[in-house]
Amino acid sequence: MLQLFLEQALNGLQFGLMLFLLAAGLTLVFGIMDCINLAHGSLYMVGAYFVAAAAQAADSFWIGLGAGVAGAAVLGLLLELSLFRQLYKRDHLSQVLATFALILIANEAVRMIWGAQPVMLNPPEALAGPVEFELFGETFFYPAYRLLIIAVGLAVGGLLYLLVAKSRVGMWVRAGAANREMTEALGINVQRLFTAVFVFGAALCALAGGLLGPLLAVQVGMGESVLILAFVVIIIGGIGSIRGALVGSLIVGTVDTLGRALLPTLLRAALPADAASTLGPALASILIYLLMAGILFFKPQGLFPARA
């Protein structure tokens, strides 16, 4: 029982931290520049392809991860300079249309370059198996690679916290999210700040894509499903808030994991087996949306609104 609880908690943490990497960039772009970027998921996909391609070329997962993240950052820079700069002044509809077009272009471009079938990305050989450790006199198993993901996620989360909460740049970012005009009036170059945030967001996307690649599959369209989850996270957490993104990610990750694990068992206790097996998976997949609706009902601005 303890093993099960610990393992599911770690699973929820791992999923949540990866969502956080995606949601962090999205919430800052949305919060500071009031720009809806639907193509955030495409950066995740393209980043994952960069990592897979570089890992194959260099025959090393780590070099591939580094090169892929750097490549995605450069792509983010180019996108910001060429396209997103034009979009900040426009209304939300123009932003949605332009970034939706970007999704279609990215999907077709990836299909043309890498083909329609998923690309294989394998974890480093040393991390392919499980880790064994003793706790309270019991032996626990957990996949080594997932532990690595948790470690990287925690490290990046900590780094982001230091950057945003303790550094001068972070202060500007927070100020920009709270009130852009006032920040500009104080002499901060919000334009340049935003370029930096956007590039950083793109790099985080690629990091998430590259880390999740060996667990999931690097394929066309992988960005869309995760984008929806990232939006759920930032809406729950409060748009523009890094702390909100972290808390939202962990909530969504945990609820989704526990829902998939426990709901079918609970339902089977209450309903006939046939109905439970149909209802369980369906209910588990909408659970986080129910959660979002519930939180929005009591806190329409999300848990940690940036513009309090």
Partner: protein, 388 residues
């Protein structure tokens, strides 16, 4: 003038219908992108190899193969099928991988009186009460391979089994088939979302259940991820894996590699079968595509051969639907799996074999045939089929 021309053309077409067709058009709708793409690509490549072996012809007439990707979406598949049926007026349809897509597309094909030769999806619905003169399955009924695994697990004396399948019609058929022959305790039935790629939550539950064997049916990329994560979680030490051939064929082996060694699975076909048709098929597939064929490829290959034999039998008069149906039922071709025949519900009656994954003489990790599980095995739904 143009009216008269149209009338003339119409008259010519009517007159032409009693004669042999000038060419045979086949609409192949399959899953060619996303996690299920490996299956569709193998069906397509197997089908194309057969057309190549037949010198670009079906039943002696030039063949035109229209190929489309259904993106594993019933909506997209239905639109494409409508276009093939109404605009291109295809003579045969084939290619669909997933049963939920088959059930969505089927009615339009049957209403149009076009023969569908399924190279994969074999839903229980079309084997039983909803069986249809225009539907043939050249592969198997969905339950069959699972029934075979159930028998093996039962015979090997496993007592505590967990079942993992996606929550869709093919998954329900899998559980029904497995439990028809496995009579021991089912510790848990895990239903996942179709297309799910992360199994962390399910694997933790499975570890807590401590089964001695695990039966999973997760076609394509789902199975690849499941086996990888199963091994990474350290579950392979205490739990023996069993799967139908779908989850343990070349597409999965290529991606997972050595961790799959020792896994048992069932199939109606294997690449090491000793008949001359199969030897030619396997050798040429390896030569043309640079990989060993999977059971899906063999099914695509057989689907083309089946059309060829039937068109030849009716001497190209594919408009005579009753004659064409008889020719299809008579199975005028030599399958790469060896001999089999069609039941009254247009599903095969055939042998099922046990395969195990290991290293072959050339050092490749691949399937090896271990023995026969069922001989001349029919599906469980044929009794409720009243074929009109």
């Amino acid at each position: 003038m143009s009216l008269r021309l149209t009338a003339l053309a119409a008259a010519l077409m009517l007159a032409g219908s009693a004669h042999a067709a000038e060419q045979i058009k086949v609409g192949l709708v399959s899953t060619l992108s996303g996690p299920g793409a490996g299956l569709g690509v193998d069906i397509r490549d197997g089908f194309n190899l057969a057309i190549k072996h037949l010198n670009g012809k079906l039943g002696g007439l030039p063949a035109e193969i229209l190929i489309a990707d259904d993106q594993q979406s019933p909506d997209v598949a239905k639109q494409t099928a409508d276009k093939f049926l109404k605009k291109d007026k295809v003579d045969f349809m084939t290619g669909i991988v997933f049963s939920n897509i088959m059930l969505a597309v089927g009615p339009a094909v049957f209403d149009n009186k076009t023969f569908y030769i399924s190279a994969n999806a074999g839903p229980s619905q079309y084997a039983g009460e909803q069986c249809n003169p225009f539907f043939f399955n050249v592969a198997w009924q969905n339950d069959n391979l699972h029934e075979a695994v159930g028998k093996v697990v039962q015979d090997k004396g496993f007592k505590n089994v967990v079942i993992v399948t996606p929550n869709y019609p093919g998954g329900k058929d899998a559980v029904a088939g497995f439990k028809r022959y496995y009579k021991g305790k089912v510790a848990d039935e895990v239903y996942t979302k179709l297309g799910q790629l992360d199994y962390a939550a399910e694997l933790a539950q499975i570890r807590a259940t401590k089964p001695d064997a695990l039966f999973f049916f997760l076609p394509g990329g789902m199975g690849i991820n499941f086996v990888k994560q199963f091994v990474a979680a350290g579950l392979s030490r205490d739990t023996q894996l069993f799967a139908p051939g779908f989850s343990a064929d070349e597409d999965v082996i290529k991606a997972v590699g050595a961790p799959m060694m020792g896994m048992f699975n069932s199939s109606h076909w294997a690449h090491d079968m000793e008949n001359s048709e199969n030897k030619r098929f396997v050798a040429d597939f390896l030569k043309d595509y640079g990989r060993l064929p999977s059971l899906y490829a063999s099914q695509g290959y057989d689907a083309a051969l089946m059309m060829d034999g039937a068109v030849r039998d009716v001497k190209g008069k594919v408009e005579d639907k009753a004659a064409l149906q008889k020719a299809l039922e008579a199975k005028r071709f030599k399958s790469v799996r060896g001999d089999f025949k069609f039941n009254t519900n247009h599903y095969p009656v055939q042998n099922y074999y046990l395969r195990a994954i290991g290293k072959d003489a050339a050092g490749r990790v691949t399937n090896k045939t271990m023995g026969t599980i069922f001989t001349a095995h029919a599906d469980a739904y044929v009794a409720s089929c009243k074929m009109k």
